[in-house]
Each structure stands twice: as structure tokens, then as C-alpha cells.
């Protein structure tokens, strides 16, 4: 065979340069570099939030939004962009578990561990899109992000549908600020600056056998979930109302004043036995009455507004607790009171809100009036401390199954009787209360750590009925 050469023949055979391997490597490397440049084109790293158009689309505005994944929520849950904006999402997972974010018909992040970030380029946004975490159940639990094209004309159909679906905000009073995407308030967010939790500490019974208290009924706006303000109907300006405490045989003299302008209120103290007709009557605005009762028997008692419809009056916040100590109550290092209830957001008394009450679909379940408040402001005890948790279920409709993760109750007192005392071999995990019932449990925290407490109906726990006890050495 003539004319054949092997690859290392000297030049003169008419082929390319002397060392084809070298030339080939150089050509391959150049092609790769060009490809990498093309891949990285269209927006350098670390762009400022808004940049004038670069590259081909001369007047494209680029917007970078920081997105956080945590607590079954994407924050922000909604991003509004002008049509034609080039949108980039800088996605960071701040949760202890992994999450990702996938954009409808678009890019997706890989699974991100805690602290990891990834930037997604959505390109120019021309229509509404949704993004969500792809892990099973996370999207259904509310981990979604709505990207909405803001238009200058009348609202788009999508936005109209969105507004109608959420709760509308009333002008001045009533209503609440609409929560973000997902179902229910965003419990991963923080309460507003300056918000104070309702103390869970239960003060000891004041001295004396006669307790005089004035309770004023009114409307109060309170932050009932992180960033969510709601108009509540209250005794003493808080929901739950002020806690009363005493011993068996004490007399309570309550002056009830109706400061409300538009509706009547009354009150019912479960702790005392008397004919309801006069003491529990409804007061018109401006009226007052004196409700006098003797606490003949020990227990954790509910009080609540006695005006119909009670589902709404209690549901909107008119409840509180009266603690009558059983005799020889054991000394403990900490005493807490948690009043459990359901939260219904929306203008109080509105059709939509009342429908939720009737159907039993509250927006949150809470301890002491605010969703997840003790998760944000934990209770603090020392390892080895003994604590008593009084619990009263204000309802209006749901039972509560009070449990403290990592502890065993050696004492259970429910509805006036000890069900369990330390001398017995058994232990309890839950204090279960039907609406209006009350009791307490006692436990010792064995070692330093974080002990969550919950309503163990998981729908309730995940929707706000949880808190934390921080145990230090």
C-alpha cells in the first residue's frame, strides 16, 4: 500500500501542522472555552438587583430576588414583576432539612442543604409562573412561590382570582393582612419588631380571700401569628383575657364593663355556681355589672363571653382562665398556664370567617392567643427543674392533646382530680382536654436541650399549636 503514512511522519504530505495531537488539543480547548463562555453569558454573577439591559435585549431590566426556603414555606411567597423583566432568583435553604425549588417550565435548583444557595435564571417573565419545592408533600404543605406579572391596566384574571380566594382586607377595622402563599399564616416568619409574647408564667395566687377585678370588654387588634394582625374581641384587652387565681373558698368579685361600641357582651365563669339569669346577661355598650362567685372547688376553669352566638364570641377571643389551686399543691420550680384555642382570621363576624368556625377550619391553633409564639420566644428552665403546666382548652370547638416532647408526666390533674401522682408506677404523655376543660401536668426536665410542646393533634401542632422549652444546664 503506497502513500500511507503514520501519524508521526514529517510534514510535506500535505496534512496540517507538525504535531496534530497538539493542534487538536488546542482546537478542542478553544472550542470548550468558547462553549463555557456561551454557557455563562447573559448575566454575570453578583449582579446588582436592577441593571440596565445588557447584551441582546437592549432595554431588558434584570431583577434578582432573594428567596428563602424554610419551614414549609418559600419567602417571599409572591413576587410581582413587570412584564419582560429578566428575573433571577437567589435561592437559599435556611432549614435544617433539604429543600429545592423548581420553576414551572423552567430551571430548578438541586436539593440544597442548610445554608446552600443557588441562583436560578428564569429569563424574561412574560406570564404568571409558579415555583415549588419538589420533595413529596412539601408543595401541598404550602411550599410554593407565585411569580405574577404586574400589569398596568385593570387587574389580570389571575390576580383577581388570587384576591378573591384570600381574605380581603377591610378599610380601617376588622380584617387582617393577607398571609403569603401556602395554606395559613407563615409560621416560619418572625413576629413584628416590638411584639411581645403573652407570658406563660403563672403568678401565684394573690393574698386574701376576696379578689376584686375589673374586666372591660372591647375590640383589640393583636398580632396573632407572625406578621398577621387580627381584630380580636377581648376581655381586658387580651385574648386570652387576664388570668385569675385563688384558693378553694375564695370569693371573686368581677366588675364587667362593656366598652364595645357596636355589640353586647356578657361573661360566664365556670369556676362558680350561680343562677345564670342575671350575672351572665348580655350588657349593651356602656353598661356594667358585678359578677360575684365563690370558688368552692379546685380546678383550672374557663371563663368566656356569654352572649350569643357564643361560637363567634369565644372564637374571636373572649375567653380566659381561672385557676383555683387544689389544697397542698406541691412546690415546683416553674408554673405555666397555656390556654389553647383556635384562630379564625378575617373580619370578625363576616360570613367567610363564621363559615370557617362552623366548618371547623381555623387558620391556626394557638397557645395563649398567638400561633407558634413560644417557638419564637421559648420558655427557659434549668436541667433538673420541675415544672407544672396548667392547660385550659378554650375551644371554641376543638379538643387539645397537650404533650411535651422528651418528657414524661409523673403528675396529671384533670377536671378537679389527680389522675396520676408520682408515687404510682405509671406515667403519662398527654393531657387531653375537651373544649372548656382544664387541668395540669408536672414533669422534670432531665437534661439540657430543646423540648417542644405541642397539641399532639398534628394538624393543630403544625398550624401553630407548638412551642419550645429551652433547658439549660
Amino acid at each position: 500500500m503506497t502513500g500511507k503514512q503514520d501519524g508521526s511522519a514529517p510534514a510535506g504530505a500535505g496534512g496540517p501542522a507538525r504535531r496534530p495531537a497538539l493542534l487538536g488539543t488546542a482546537a478542542g480547548a478553544v472550542l470548550t472555552v468558547l462553549a463555557v463562555l456561551a454557557a455563562n453569558s447573559g448575566g454575570g454573577t453578583g449582579d446588582p438587583a436592577v441593571a440596565a439591559g445588557t447584551g441582546a435585549g437592549g432595554t431588558t431590566v434584570t431583577r434578582t430576588v432573594e428567596v428563602t426556603l424554610a419551614g414549609m414555606r418559600v419567602r417571599p411567597a409572591r413576587i410581582e414583576v413587570a412584564e419582560g423583566t429578566a428575573l433571577r432568583l437567589k435561592v437559599t435553604n435556611t432549614d435544617a432539612v433539604r429543600h429545592d425549588l423548581k420553576v414551572e417550565d423552567g430551571p430548578a435548583t438541586p436539593l440544597l442543604t442548610r445554608g446552600q444557595s443557588r441562583t436560578l435564571d428564569l429569563g424574561t417573565v412574560t406570564g404568571d409562573r409558579e415555583a415549588w419545592c419538589t420533595l413529596p408533600g412539601h408543595r401541598a404543605a404550602g411550599m410554593t412561590l407565585d411569580i405574577v406579572v404586574r400589569d398596568t391596566g385593570a387587574g389580570s384574571a389571575h390576580r383577581a382570582a388570587g384576591d378573591a380566594h384570600g381574605d380581603s382586607t377591610d378599610g380601617g377595622h376588622g380584617g387582617h393582612s393577607a398571609p403569603g402563599g401556602g395554606t395559613g399564616p407563615d409560621l416560619g416568619a418572625d413576629f413584628s419588631r416590638g411584639w411581645r409574647e403573652r407570658t406563660a408564667d403563672l403568678a401565684p395566687a394573690p393574698g386574701g380571700r376576696l379578689h376584686k377585678v375589673e374586666l372591660r370588654a372591647a375590640h383589640t387588634t393583636a398580632e396573632v401569628a407572625p406578621g398577621v394582625k387580627q381584630q380580636m374581641w377581648t376581655f381586658g384587652g387580651t385574648a386570652p383575657g387576664p388570668t385569675l387565681r385563688g384558693r378553694v373558698g375564695d370569693v371573686f368579685e368581677i366588675t364587667l364593663v362593656n366598652d364595645d361600641e357596636g355589640m353586647g357582651h356578657g361573661i360566664d365563669f365556670h369556676a362558680g355556681s350561680l343562677a345564670p339569669d342575671r350575672p351572665m346577661r348580655t350588657l349593651e355598650p356602656g353598661e356594667r355589672l358585678v359578677y360575684r362567685f365563690r370558688a368552692e372547688r379546685a380546678g383550672a376553669w374557663l371563663y368566656h363571653c356569654s352572649t350569643a352566638p357564643m361560637l363567634q364570641h369565644i372564637g374571636n377571643g373572649m375567653y380566659g382562665a381561672v385557676v383555683i389551686d387544689p389544697p397542698d399543691l406541691r412546690k415546683v420550680d416553674h408554673e405555666y398556664l397555656l390556654v389553647s384555642s383556635a384562630l379564625y382570621l378575617g373580619p370578625p363576624g363576616s360570613t367567610a370567617q363564621v363559615a370557617k368556625m362552623r366548618e371547623g377550619t381555623p387558620d391556626a391553633w394557638v397557645f395563649n392567643g398567638a400561633a407558634a409564639q413560644y417557638a419564637k420566644r421559648p420558655l427557659t428552665v434549668k436541667a433538673g427543674d420541675r415544672a407544672r403546666f396548667w392547660v385550659v382548652d378554650a375551644g371554641p370547638s376543638d379538643p387539645v392533646a397537650f404533650h411535651i416532647v422528651g418528657t414524661v408526666f409523673d403528675t396529671v390533674y384533670k377536671e378537679g382530680a389527680y389522675l396520676l401522682t408520682p408515687g404510682r408506677p405509671g406515667g403519662a404523655q398527654v393531657l387531653d382536654l375537651a373544649p372548656a376543660q382544664g387541668g395540669f401536668v408536672e414533669t422534670t426536665f432531665p437534661e439540657a436541650g430543646h423540648y417542644a410542646f405541642v397539641d399532639h393533634d398534628m394538624r393543630h401542632a403544625e398550624a401553630g399549636a407548638h412551642g419550645t422549652v429551652e433547658v439549660t444546664r
Partner: protein
């Protein structure tokens, strides 16, 4: 949810195919062909290299290419890639660059075969190396993409 699920197997086929093909190229270029040139007589060497190249090309076309294209398209569809999204900066452009480079690699491989048939040994060699280096570039871009 199984970690070794359907899409993980699709990804496996795609990645394994790429690894074996690039590995095969390297084995040929760094091991088989240099030894053939050194140890075989000119006629045997020419026949061997020609047959080796032909066989590798046949396997590329019959096995490698369909698997890579099939699994690649499937993963792109699964991720929601559209033609329009290929122009978008970030994922789209990276994928587009990877596809373009892959096309160049395949073209270079084909041209290598043609050059060899026309006895343009040096050109054939250069094109083979372009194909090899380019395919490493494809792997580089592939690893820059988030997992499917």
C-alpha cells in the same frame, strides 16, 4: 420514594454512556493505537488502526449516540426545558452550549473517519484529539448543570 428510581437510572445511562465513550477514546488514543504503531508492522498497523477506528465509530453510532440522545432528551423534557428556554442565561445557555459542543465533537469524529479514509493521517489525528478534548468540555458543562 426510592433513591434509585426511574430518573436516576436514566441519568445513570446518560452518564455511564458518556464515561465509557470518553474512556474508550482515551484507551484508544493513549494505549491501543500507540502500541499498535510501535509493535505492529506497517501493513498490520494500518489495517488494525483502520478496523479499530471503524469499529469504534460503529459502536458510537449504533449504541452511544442513541442512548445519549434518548436519555438527554428525556431528562430535558422532565426538567421542563423548552426550545425558548435554551436561550435563557444560566441553565438554558449552559445546556445549549453543551449540545453545540457535542455536535462539534460528533462532527469532528465523523470528519476524522473521512480524513483517515482519504489518507490524511495528520488531519485525522488532529480531529480525533479535537473530538476527545471537546468531549471533556461536554463533561465539564454537564457537571455545571444541576442534577435532574
Amino acid at each position: 420514594m426510592d433513591t434509585v428510581g426511574l430518573w436516576s437510572l436514566v441519568r445513570f445511562a446518560h452518564v455511564a454512556g458518556a464515561a465509557l465513550w470518553v474512556g474508550g477514546q482515551l484507551a484508544l488514543s493513549l494505549v491501543i493505537l500507540p502500541l499498535a504503531r510501535r509493535l505492529l508492522g506497517p501493513e498490520a498497523k494500518d489495517r488494525f488502526t483502520a478496523e479499530a477506528g471503524r469499529r469504534f465509530g460503529m459502536l458510537t453510532g449504533a449504541l452511544f449516540l442513541p442512548v445519549q440522545l434518548g436519555t438527554g432528551v428525556a431528562m430535558a423534557w422532565h426538567k421542563g426545558v423548552t426550545w425558548a428556554s435554551l436561550a435563557e442565561p444560566g441553565y438554558g445557555r449552559t445546556l445549549a452550549a453543551k449540545l453545540a459542543l457535542f455536535a462539534v465533537v460528533m462532527a469532528a469524529a465523523a470528519a476524522h473517519g473521512i480524513a483517515h479514509a482519504r489518507h490524511r493521517a495528520d488531519l485525522a489525528r488532529a480531529l480525533a484529539v479535537v473530538s476527545l478534548v471537546g468531549s471533556l468540555g461536554v463533561v465539564l458543562l454537564a457537571t455545571a448543570l444541576p442534577a435532574t
